[in-house]
C-alpha cells in the first residue's frame, strides 16, 4: 500500500486543537448573538466570557498554524473532483483567516471605543487602537458581518465533512476524527 508513506490523518495535537477550537468557536458565535440580544443579568458574564474565550482562541490558532506549517496535512483523496479540492483548500484558509481576524477585530473594536479590555481573572489588555468613532463603526460592522460569514462557512464545512463521512466515505473525515487513529487507514 502506497498510503503508508504519507500520513493519512492529522497529528493528535492537530486533531485535539481542531476539536477544542471548533467547540470554542461555535460557543463564541452563540454567545455573541445571544449576549447582544439580551438585557438580562447574564449579559455581564456572557460578555466577559466572550472576550476571554475569544482571546484564548486567538492564542490557540497561532499554535495551530505553527503546527500546520511544520506538520502539514494529509493529502486529499486522489479521486476528489477539482472543484471540491479547490473548495476544500479555499474554505480551510478562509476558516484560518477568520479564526485570526475575529478576535483581533473584537479587541480593536473595544479599543476604538475607549472601553477597557478586561478578561476573567482580572487580566487587562492594552488598547491596540486609539479611540475613533469611524474606526469603531468599521470594526463593529466587520466583526458582526464576518461573524455571520464565519457561521455560514462553518455550516458549509460541516456539511462537506459529513458528505465525506457519510456519502463519499473517502477517509477525509477520519483524517480529522476526534478519536485516536491507527497509523494507516484500512482499505478505502
Amino acid at each position: 500500500m502506497s498510503r503508508t508513506m504519507t500520513p493519512v490523518h492529522f497529528s493528535g495535537a492537530q486533531r485535539l486543537l481542531h476539536w477544542t477550537m471548533a467547540a470554542g468557536i461555535v460557543a463564541m458565535l452563540f454567545i455573541g448573538v445571544g449576549m447582544i440580544s439580551t438585557v438580562a443579568p447574564s449579559y455581564v458574564p456572557l460578555v466577559a466570557t466572550h472576550k476571554t474565550l475569544g482571546v484564548a482562541l486567538f492564542a490557540l490558532v497561532l499554535v495551530r498554524l505553527a503546527l500546520r506549517v511544520t506538520l502539514g496535512a494529509p493529502p486529499l483523496p486522489a479521486d476528489l473532483p477539482p472543484v471540491m479540492r479547490l473548495g476544500a483548500v479555499l474554505s480551510h484558509w478562509a476558516l484560518y483567516g477568520l479564526m485570526i481576524v475575529m478576535p483581533l477585530l473584537g479587541w480593536a473594536m473595544l479599543s476604538a471605543a475607549a472601553y477597557p479590555v478586561v478578561l476573567f481573572g482580572d487580566i487587562r489588555l492594552p488598547p491596540i487602537l486609539p479611540q475613533s468613532d469611524s474606526l469603531h463603526t468599521l470594526l463593529w460592522a466587520a466583526h458582526r458581518w464576518l461573524a455571520f460569514a464565519f457561521f455560514a462557512l462553518i455550516l458549509l464545512h460541516v456539511a462537506a465533512a459529513l458528505f465525506h463521512a457519510l456519502v463519499r466515505r473517502d477517509g477525509v473525515f477520519e483524517a480529522m476524527s476526534p478519536l485516536p487513529q491507527r497509523k494507516t487507514m484500512p482499505e478505502r
Binding site: 445571544g34 447582544i36 439580551t38 468613532d133 455550516l155 459529513l162 458528505f163 478505502r188
Partner: protein, 350 residues
C-alpha cells in the same frame, strides 16, 4: 474501494440537511430572531426615541450634556470597604459629563425633571471606574422590563399612565419626588446618586453591598421651573461653565453600606435611615468643555466598567444598562457625521 454504489445517498443527505438546518435554527433562536417578544437592547433603546425619531449622533438618552474634567481626591476612608486603588489616599484624574435625562439634545432645561452626571475615574494601576448617576434619591421602576413598560406608556397619555401605575405602584415614590423636590439653577447644587447597588470587596475579601452619592458642596438655591425657563433654554450649561471658570466645584462622595436584609435588587427602595455611611473623598470639577469636540463625547459611561474591588450586585439594572448603553454607543458613533465635531455657530453652548 468498499464504497458501494448500491447505497442510496438519500438518507445521509437528509441527515446532513437536518444538521445544517437545525444549527441555523438554533443560531437564529439564540440571536432572538425567532422571539420578537424578547426585550433586546435594540428594542429598549428604540423605545427611548422621541416621536420625531432619535437625534442622530447623540446619546439615545441623557442626550443634552456638557463635558468636564477634574480630579477625585480620595481621603483613604474607602479602603475600609474596597481594595480599589481609587480609595487609597491620592488624587486621580476625572472625566465627566453633566446631563439632562432627555432623548433630545435641544430640550429646554426647565422641561427636564431629572439631571445626571457621567463620571470616569482612572487610577495608575490601569483600572477605570465609570458610573452614570442621577439626582432623584430613588429610581422610577424596579426592573428593566418595567422601564420599558414606562417608556411605552408615558407618551400615550394619562389613561395609559394610570394603567402603568396600576401595574407598577412602586412608581409613586418617584412621582412624589418629581412633584415635590426643589429645582435648582445649577448642576453644582445638585446631588448625584448611583441608585443601583454594587458590591465592594475589601483587601481581606469581605464583600458588602453599597450605593454611593455625590453631595454638592454648593448650597442649594431652590428655584421654580418657571423661573428657570425665563433664564433661557440652555442656562444650565452656561451657568456651570462660568461657575467652574470662576472656582472649582466640589462634591463629597458618600458610600452607604447595606445591612443584611436590605433590598439591594430594587433601586426604587431606599434603605432605612441610619445605615453606615463613609465619606470617601471629594470630586473636584475644574474645567468645563463643550460636548461636540469634548473628551466625554465618545465615552460610554457604562456602569459595569468597574475597578478591581467593585463588582455588580443582584441589582438587575447595571447589566441592562450596559447592554442598552453599548447599543446607543454603537448607533451614535456610527452617526458621527450627523453631529459635527465643531459647535455650529449660533449654538448656545459656551
Amino acid at each position: 474501494m468498499s464504497r458501494s454504489s448500491s447505497r442510496s445517498p438519500f438518507v445521509p443527505l437528509a441527515v446532513i440537511a437536518m444538521v445544517v438546518a437545525g444549527s441555523a435554527a438554533a443560531f437564529a433562536y439564540t440571536a432572538g430572531w425567532l422571539s420578537p417578544e424578547r426585550l433586546t437592547p435594540s428594542r429598549l433603546v428604540a423605545a427611548l426615541a422621541p416621536p420625531g425619531g432619535p437625534a442622530l449622533g447623540h446619546r439615545r438618552n441623557h442626550a443634552k450634556g456638557i463635558c468636564f474634567t477634574g480630579e477625585f481626591q480620595s481621603n483613604g476612608n474607602g479602603m475600609a470597604l474596597s481594595k480599589a486603588k481609587v480609595f487609597t489616599p491620592g488624587a486621580w484624574p476625572v472625566l465627566g459629563r453633566f446631563n439632562l435625562a432627555t432623548p433630545s439634545p435641544k430640550a429646554a432645561d426647565a422641561t427636564v425633571r431629572v439631571r445626571g452626571m457621567g463620571l470616569q475615574i482612572t487610577t495608575p494601576d490601569g483600572d477605570v471606574w465609570r458610573s452614570a448617576m442621577i439626582d432623584p434619591p430613588i429610581f422610577a421602576v424596579s426592573t428593566p422590563q418595567a422601564f420599558y413598560d414606562l417608556l411605552g406608556s408615558a407618551p400615550k397619555g394619562p389613561e395609559a399612565m394610570k394603567a402603568f401605575i396600576g401595574r407598577h405602584p412602586e412608581f409613586m415614590a418617584f412621582a412624589g419626588w418629581a412633584g415635590s423636590a426643589p429645582w435648582t439653577s445649577s448642576y453644582a447644587e445638585d446631588p448625584f446618586n448611583s441608585l443601583n447597588s454594587f458590591l465592594f470587596t475589601d483587601a481581606a475579601g469581605t464583600t458588602r453591598a453599597v450605593r454611593w452619592s455625590l453631595r454638592p458642596a454648593a448650597t442649594q438655591m431652590p428655584i421654580t421651573p418657571e423661573e428657570l425657563a425665563r433664564k433661557g433654554p440652555n442656562y444650565l450649561e452656561q451657568e456651570i461653565a462660568q461657575r467652574v471658570a470662576g472656582a472649582p466645584q466640589r462634591w463629597t462622595m458618600v458610600v452607604t453600606v447595606a445591612e443584611p436584609g436590605d433590598n439591594t435588587a430594587d433601586p426604587t427602595k431606599a434603605w432605612p435611615q441610619g445605615r453606615r455611611t463613609v465619606e470617601v473623598g471629594t470630586l473636584v470639577v475644574n474645567k468645563v468643555i463643550a460636548e461636540p469636540d469634548g473628551p466625554c463625547r465618545d465615552i460610554n459611561f457604562d456602569p459595569t466598567i468597574l475597578p478591581r474591588g467593585i463588582s455588580v450586585s443582584d441589582d438587575p439594572f447595571p447589566a441592562a444598562r450596559s447592554s442598552a448603553y453599548a447599543r446607543s454607543y454603537d448607533l451614535r458613533t456610527s452617526e458621527a457625521k450627523d453631529y459635527p465635531r465643531t459647535p455650529v455657530s449660533g449654538s448656545a453652548k459656551p
